[in-house]
């Protein structure tokens, strides 16, 4: 993962609530076996509407997306995060996110920033005309107008994003602990060892 420390630039003032992952990337785009190229299908149904923010040249390649409550609800498809990444989005700001989407975004180096609705409303206003800055290290969103909104961030996720850590590599380094757990489970819950082997 590429380290992420700061995101600065124009922000797409989307603002819609309960945006589900079928809206972020419709199912017919899911027939791919790679992570690339999904930006073309991002927000397809929204983009079918004339005058939508995504096709406004003002916000072309904007690295920030501002959304409403419960962004990314619905399907677990990581294609939603891949599509945003392929669009060039590195941070999404919203009052709340679905749990699965927030995890998927983070694992693809996209920061999900949670701010209260009134601060999101202020950013939606600023984004129309001016850039926004997200400082990961100091956990603060700023505007050219002295707005300064602090946000919470899980320390582990912060470290992974800032250092571009490989989470699988980190867990593989805990191999001894996993082996120990498997020994314990084989002793205490022996019925689980069957797995997919047909019972004799």
């Amino acid at each position: 993962m590429v380290p992420l420390r700061e995101v600065e630039g124009r922000a797409i003032p989307f603002g819609a609530k309960n945006v589900d992952t079928d809206v972020i990337i419709p199912a017919h785009w899911l027939k791919t076996v790679t992570r690339e190229g999904l930006g073309r299908g991002a927000f397809e149904t929204v983009r079918a509407e004339p005058g939508n923010v995504f096709d406004d040249p003002e916000f072309a390649s904007a690295p920030i997306l501002i959304a409403g409550d419960n962004f990314g609800c619905g399907s677990s498809r990581e294609h939603a995060a891949w599509a945003l990444g392929d669009m060039g989005v590195k941070a999404v700001i919203a009052p709340s996110f679905s749990d699965i989407f927030a995890g998927n975004a983070f694992k693809n180096g996209i920061l999900a920033v949670v701010l209260p609705q009134e601060q999101v409303d202020r950013l939606l206003e600023v984004a129309r005309t001016d850039p926004i800055s997200v400082d990961l290290e100091h956990q603060v969103v700023t505007t050219p107008f002295q707005d300064r909104f602090a946000f919470e961030l899980d320390p582990f996720r912060k470290a992974c994003l800032m250092d571009g850590l490989d989470e699988i590599g980190l867990t593989l380094a805990r191999d001894t602990a996993i082996n120990e757990y498997e020994r314990r489970q084989a002793r205490d819950m022996p019925w689980l060892a069957h797995g997919t082997e047909k019972a004799a």
Binding site: D22, T171, R174, I178, L192, G195, T196
Partner: protein
Amino acid sequence: MASRPRTLYEKIWDAHVVETRDDGTALLYIDRHLVHEVTSPQAFEGLRAAGRPVRRPDLTLAVPDHNLPTTARLDTEGNRLPIADAESAAQLAALERNTAEFGIAYIGATDAAQGIVHVVGPEQGFSLPGTTIVCGDSHTASHGGVGALAFGIGTSEVEHVLATQTLLLRKSKSMEVRVEGQLGPGVTPKDLILHIIGVIGTAGGTGHVIEYRGAVFEDMSVEGRLTVCNMSIEGGARAGLIAPDETVFAYLKDRPLAPEGEAWDRATQWWRSLATDAGAVFDKSVTIDAAAVQPTVTWGTSPEDVAPIGDKVPLPDSFADPSKQEAARKSLAYMGLEPGQKLSEVAIENVFIGSCTNSRIEDLRAAADVLRGRHKAAGVKWAIVVPGSGLVKAQAEAEGLDKVFIDAGLEWREPGCSACLAMNPDKVPAGERCASTSNRNFVGRQGPGARTHLVSPAMAAAAAVTGKLTDVRELIG
């Protein structure tokens, strides 16, 4: 043993913690990993690129479902028929190739046991009480119906589980959905979960694991419990579960992958200890009156947009929240509905009975009971019944249900995800309505411009008969 009273969720969580990190995240062991063709190719590619093996192929089970056409898979001579869509064919071929390369059990498209991953898991006895189960699919919550902690994951997490058999997680909050009383006649588990989502909203369970509690669940079949838990994600909860009991044990006993003999006895002993202790505290609690639940339909484009079939399409101004008013206006425009219109007068052109929510034998029996001796209305252009697995299909055929459907003018298909999501040839045409037993009424979910009304299998069957959304109680008297 901890003396503090614990919830079912906490007991399963505690039993699977490999280690807890200083920052509070836990490395959680995953007992069962289900894999399908859509969310796995990039994960296998990641393993290959890093030269990593699958840690526990024996705890992993793969089955194709999302892309598969539900038409015949073999020609008259028993040869596999090609899949017309090149991208679907490539994704399905990738799963077959990846499972062979990494040594993972694979139930292929023409295997008698193939089906929707969330139907196959419990049916094979692979999904067990007290286990941690994951799959790259948000409806993994289904398996909570057998008392497992089961949740959907993204593809990066699929790769993480394949490589390490663990996930790094922060413990969720717990939420109790307590249902008091009993469901009335003609009111099914699907109506109950739609009603619950209407009460808590699509973000009501965000950050929480739901435990469904109350006598109604104790009396409910495993199929019904799987339906309820399946839609936990539509209420925002990554997982939903119901305490495992004798009903679950009877369902699982002698399933192909279920434990046997002494192992079974030891397992059931532990499973019996999993129910939430008296005095355990939930972070959030909601009480639902079962008697208030009516046969329920959705009118909008969010699963929280529910109403009893006897109601009218709501007036957007009737919602307190201005953003909900706006959302309702957009939904109704998409759905082509007028505020104040009676729901029972909404004509439908399509009927879909299937999906991981409602494609098990009990669902098909409920639909057949309504359709027996009747015929679909002239205005219903397309009506399909898609069993959740080959085993469900065989059982239904043994009971003669296929003939009931065919005589009623419905099509009887091969197992798969079908018209739940527009990834295979089963789609609802733009601008047309579908009475659907699936789980999501999102914009474009069943095809671009398709209008979805979520209902129970009995209600879908009733709609097929009358050609409009219908209170099934009028047909079953």
